[in-house]
C-alpha cells in the first residue's frame, strides 16, 4: 500500500529509506530484490533519485495517477547511496544499483 508515495521526492525521506533500508512507498522493511524507478537517463547513468522500494510497490506506483510515463523499473540485490557533492550535476542523493537482476 503506497501510504508514503507523496514523499518519494522528499530528500530527508529518501535518506531515511536508504539508511533504514525501508521501502519509500510503504515504509516497511525492504525485501530482496530491491526495486528502483527511473527515467531512461537515470537508468543509463545508473543513478536513481527515487528511494528504494518493494517490487510490488514500484509496480503499483508505475500504475498510479501522476506516474512519470518515462519511468522504468529496475531490480537489484544491493545499491550504493551517494550524497551530492558541492560541484556536481546532482543536487539530490542518488542510488546506484550494484547488482542488477533480470
Amino acid at each position: 500500500m503506497l501510504t508514503e508515495a507523496s514523499r518519494i521526492h522528499d530528500r530527508a525521506w529518501v535518506t531515511q529509506c536508504a539508511l533504514s533500508r525501508i521501502c519509500g512507498g510503504c515504509a516497511m522493511s525492504l525485501s530482496r530484490p530491491v526495486a528502483f524507478l527511473g527515467t531512461l537517463d537515470e537508468v543509463n547513468r545508473n543513478a536513481f533519485h527515487l528511494p528504494p522500494m518493494h517490487r510490488e510497490c514500484a509496480e503499483e506506483l508505475l500504475e498510479a495517477p501522476g506516474a512519470d510515463p518515462e519511468w522504468q523499473l529496475v531490480t537489484t540485490a544491493g545499491f550504493e547511496f551517494v550524497r551530492p557533492g558541492r560541484d556536481e550535476i546532482e543536487t539530490q542523493p542518488t542510488f546506484q544499483p550494484n547488482s542488477l537482476l533480470g
Binding site: 501510504t3 531515511q16 533504514s20 533500508r21 510503504c26 515504509a27 530482496r32 550504493e80 550494484n98
Partner: protein, 406 residues
Amino acid sequence: MAIADVKEYTHLSEEDVEQLGRELDAIRTEIEESRGDADAAYINRLIKIQRYLAIAGRLSLMLGTQNKKTRVPAAVTGATLLGLHKILENMEIGHNVMHGQWDWMNDPEIHSSNWEWDTAQPAEQWKHSHNYVHHQFTNVLGHDNDIGYGILRMAREQRWHPHYLGQPIFNALLASLFQWGVALHDLDIERIRKGEKDPKEMKRQLKQIFKKGRNQVLKDYLVYPALSGKQWKTTLKANASANLMRNLWSYMIIFCGHFPDGALHFTEEELEDETRSEWYLRQMLGSANFTGGPLLHVMSGNLGYQIEHHLFPDLPSNRYAEISVKVRELCAKYDIPYTTGPLHRQYGQALRTIMKLSVPNSWTSSDQPEPPGPVAERRRKSDEERQPRRQELGGWSRSPREWGDS
C-alpha cells in the same frame, strides 16, 4: 557547533574540503570496483566459523556436563565458545550485513533485508536506530541517541542534572545488560520522556521487542537448558555467562567508537545542506579508532576502524584495514585529527569521560586536544540561509495498515 564551525578543520579552505572529498570518493570507487570473490569467501568463512562455534558450545554444554569429571571444564568451554559465537555473529556478521555491506553478493541469506541477529533488538529497529539515526546524525547532540544511550551524559555540552551523579552505576548496568539496552534503543527514551513519541508506534515497537526478546530468553534460558537434562542449571548459567561476555565486549567496543578524547560532538544539524565532503568530515571528526591485531579487529566487527566504517558504512568490513592506511595518509596531508590508540587507552578515556561528566563541568576540565593550524577565511551560512530544524527525527513513518495490525 555546526560542522562548518569545527576548529579542527577551519584551517582548510572550501576547495581543500572538496578535494579531500574527491580523494575519499576515489577510495570508495576503488573498493567498489575490486570487491568480489575473495570478499564473498571471507564473509562465508566467518559465518561458518560462527556456526561451528555455536554447535561446539552447545554440544559441550549438553554432553560434556553430564559427567562429573568434565562438568566444570565443559561448562567453561561451552560458555566461552557460545560467547565467541555471539560476539562474532553480532559484531562482524549481523551489524555489517544489516548495513548492506554484502547485499551486492545477491545471496538471499546474507542480505540486509533478511538477516535477523542473535540479540534482543529486532533487526528492523536496529536498521533505523543505528543505520539511519546514528550514522546520519553522527554525534549531533539531541539527535544521535548513541551519545550515552539516553541515560549517560557523554558531552560537556549536555546540561548536567543531579541524577547524573549515578552515572558510574548506570554505566555498569548498561554494560552488563547491553543487549537489553540496545533492544530499547529505537524506542527513543528521550522522546518518550518528553511525551513526543507516537503511542501507536511505541506500542508496535514494544510488541516487536517483546516477541524478539521472548524468543531469545526461551532459547537461552529454557530450550537449551532443557536439552541438557539434569544439568540444566549448568547450561543456564553458561548461557547467561555467554550473554554477559558478549554484552560487556560489545559495550566496550561501541563506547570506544565515539567517546575517546578527540572524537567531537556537534550541536547544530544543518544536514540538509551538508555536502558529501562535509558529511565525510563530520564522520571523521566524530569517530575514533583503536589499534590491534587482525583477530581483535574481526572480533570487534572491524569497529576498530570506526572512522573508516563511518566514512563507508556499506563497504565490506574486511576492507577497512586497507582503507585505513589511505584515510590516515589523507588526514596527515590535510592536517585533520585521526583519533586512534590502543583499546585499553581508548576505553580508559571513554570511562574517564563517563566519570568526569557525572559531576558539573565546573568541577572538571575538558580533555579534548587542541585543534591544529591557524583558521582560514571561510564563509558561513547566515541563519536565513540555513534549513529549519528537522521535526520528524526519532519517529518512524508508519503506514496506517501497519499501525492497524498492531
